[in-house]
Point group: C2
């Protein structure tokens, strides 16, 4: 708090890194690539989790918990999955430590070597489908609609708080169905649930689409995704939902007796979002003064700051403020009364802005005389004086206003930074200043690879609502049936 | 469901093992010692977790998240902690896999060996106090009241679902205080919170006490615990709260500037409960027909079974049952309408009893004529016919009755199986038939060890409410100031 954060213009990347730490969301830990999620950051994650959990349950899903460890051999079962996932993993090889011969240290006990190494789960398809084998015999056991909240580990070389960490928290849904159509319906249903959550709760507009073969989940036949735009014009993939076909059922031999009495392999989906959403939330809305949080996910909605010179004044203010606080709370708001006497109001204001508290109320001696209160909103910094009796209604209304405004602002920004071009030179120019590009592509992995190598942009998705439009590939000039979304991405 | 479970009398241990699996609480997994918590079991754990989380927040705590991995060297820092915890652990030594030379398999990449091994957390004192070092500078930063919900791993050799598994879910509170008195107050506060939860929600009476030095947490100066009695008369420790003194602050050099301007080490507590509580819940109340769940933790409160011969009858029944279901739900109850036409009512009844659903309602054609419903309670099997318009009130009342009855029944059982003796022969006899014993002890670890070796009983705790009473140690005859609680334990 002693100094502000670097401005976005100066260095967007550094701005993000500093903000996450200074606003008390997370910290780097003593373990390479692993973060500590601090109480303020965790409180936001809890709100995300609780809401998503409600949405999953409302769509018929239940939670369960599967082992942290996966036998190494499981990864070899699904051929494309192993390529994508069994590489940068934390490997458990031993199960005991002992004192070193000189007694001064502890060392790994070489007698306690595992027969088969265990992998700390990078994702749980394999262990879960190995379990489903025992749970599914007949069509009566289907669909199986299970979700898990868990920690996973991917040994990333370059890590950034929330965006890419060796350990992260997430949820992974793993569903089993009797038919291809049902599994596909589930895949699409869940990408819509994610889109709904990210837009309505995080206030971040999304583009729903399908991935190209290059960007597909290892083991999936089709990957649906939601893509969001950050304030530097780069894309951030906020959630994915995979149609896995019968790949995992075949790999783990999960068959069921159909209603017709035949045996068939089960159809699968998986879908997940992670603490990466925290990174998207910060990068989509926040500014050079600090976090800007949508009210629906803010741990504290309102902070009330008393302005006074003498201690007697504080007790007179307290008499007005405490009933106000109570009434705000009765309206479902979380309120902090910041009556610390160790720091000045200006310091408090800066801190509350850094933390992104949506509404700040200030009550001073003049307000006491006039029966008023000053109310400031974090998103626009607009402030006005209201009669005390209007304070609660105004604040309740502001919550909706701020939530809406954040979404509309982010949408306007995305629209202003989304371009359509048929010129490869312009394509590259746009990428350099930042933005999304709708352009034609010839549909081949080779072309996508060449564009990526040349420009660092990838095809984020083929938007679900992309209209048919004949055109020529931006690189090769070959025919294309629709534009796809290109961007550089996190 | 095809066959019932082994009876408690026949083989209590086997009864438990079978019940946990057959009632769909948990399953063994492909990974040695790790369990799969199935949706029905997880739904109970979620209720426990949500309630405990509420109680922690109401006592001023916040949640955070710390890394899964702990550098090996951290365990050497606190001398007594290493002895207790750094032994049977999962050790991560490598961070990459690669294809085997023949391309058929995947193997650990020996080039990707970690410089320092990482231990999968068996408990998080070390990594958390290493973090607190950066968070605590002054008395203004204290107290720090943080809790974490997480998975932990202890490489147990003999495992049993919920009671002792290699991986389990738990919460661990880690608090930091400016004074010894505050830390001690917190330690006691949290054991009371646990006692409150286990008695009021799980319906299991507890004995609060302190552990002897032998049974103390590795690194603690004092361990408070709650001890519960299972139906075989054995004890199960349901929760612990540790006063850690300044041990971890010294090990990780966590000092703070006091109000007086001096520097002092911070005082610590830690406290935890785990999925072990699921085991206690099952073993305390359930019977030979299956689970008996207290309404406050039951995922389903009421099941309604229609009795009919022809399909037309079902639709008439449905017209009565659906509004009843709705009204029950409006009263906060979770209701299942079991209208499956693939199994007979008797099969359904057995299944609902196995799952421990507190109340079963049956509505048949005669009930339609008479405007009645049959209501049966799971705990006593008592069933009565009520006018339909009394069904909701009766059920709501039954929830309280069943909750109370389970507690009173468990308390009566514990009282009937708690003995006081001064004869070592009788002491051994009681242990063989099962029960708690209040007996005198000379206060030495040697005596405790000898009794344990001789009888397999340990001192579960020195109950907080144990009155002063001069006596002679049950083994050595040496003087004792109060009786302590002996039992064989899980």
């Amino acid at each position: 708090m002693s100094k502000g954060v670097t401005s976005r213009k100066e260095n967007y990347s550094q701005w993000y890194n500093e903000l996450v730490v200074k606003a008390d969301l997370a910290d780097n830990s003593a373990v390479r690539g692993c973060m500590v999620i601090k109480p303020y950051g965790y409180a936001i994650w809890e709100k995300m989790r609780d809401r998503l959990d409600r949405m999953f349950k409302d769509t018929g899903h239940v939670n369960a918990y599967f082992p942290l460890f996966i036998p190494k051999s499981f990864f070899s079962r699904e051929a494309s999955h192993v390529e994508g996932f069994a590489k940068e993993c934390a490997v458990v090889t031993h199960y005991r430590l002992k004192n070193s011969p000189d007694g001064k240290d502890i060392v790994v006990d070489s007698d306690a070597k595992l027969e088969e190494e265990l992998i700390v789960r990078p994702t749980s398809e394999t262990i879960i489908w190995n379990t489903y084998k025992d749970w599914i015999q007949s069509y009566r056991d289907l669909p199986l609609l299970i979700n898990q909240w868990a920690n996973v580990v991917r040994w990333e070389m370059r890590t950034r708080l929330f965006l890419r960490t060796a350990e992260f928290l997430w949820q992974e849904g793993h569903t089993a169905h009797a038919t291809q159509a049902e599994a596909m319906e589930e895949t699409v249903r869940m990408i819509h649930v994610y889109a709904d959550f990210v837009e309505k709760y995080m206030g971040v507009p999304v583009i729903e689409g399908v991935k190209t073969a290059n960007e597909r989940f290892a083991g999936a036949l089709e990957t649906y995704c939601i893509e969001t735009m950050m304030q530097d014009g780069k894309a951030l993939q906020a959630g994915t939902s995979h149609f896995l076909g019968q790949n995992f059922a075949k790999a783990f031999d999960v068959k069921f007796a159909t209603r017709e009495g035949t045996l068939d392999y089960v159809w699968a989906t998986s879908w997940g979002v992670s603490t990466r959403l925290m990174g998207a939330l910060v990068m989509a809305h926040s500014d050079d003064k600090g976090l800007v949080l949508p009210p629906k996910l803010a741990p504290i909605h309102v902070v009330i700051v008393p302005i006074y010179q003498k201690t007697e004044q504080l007790s007179a203010l307290r008499e007005k403020i405490l009933p106000l606080k109570k009434e705000l709370e009765a309206n479902g708001l979380t309120v902090k009364f910041d009556d610390r006497d160790t720091v000045k109001p200006g310091f408090k204001f800066a801190e509350h802005e850094l933390k992104g508290i949506p509404v700040r109320m200030v009550v001073g001696p003049r307000d006491l005389e006039n029966g008023t209160v000053e109310i400031a909103r974090r998103d626009t910094f607009e402030k006005n004086v209201y009669p005390l009796h209007e304070a609660v209604n105004t604040t309740v209304r502001l919550m909706d206003d701020i939530q809406d405004n954040l979404y509309r602002r982010a949408l306007a920004f995305r629209n202003a930074n989304t371009f359509q071009t048929d010129s490869y030179d312009e394509f590259k120019e746009i990428l350099d200043r930042g933005g999304f590009i709708m352009a034609h592509w010839d549909g081949t992995s080779e072309t996508e690879d060449r564009i990526k190598e040349d420009t660092k942009a990838t095809i984020r998705c083929i938007p679900l609502d992309a209209p048919e439009e004949s055109g020529k590939c931006i690189l090769t000039g070959k025919p294309s049936a629709r534009r796809v979304l290109f961007a550089r991405a996190y």
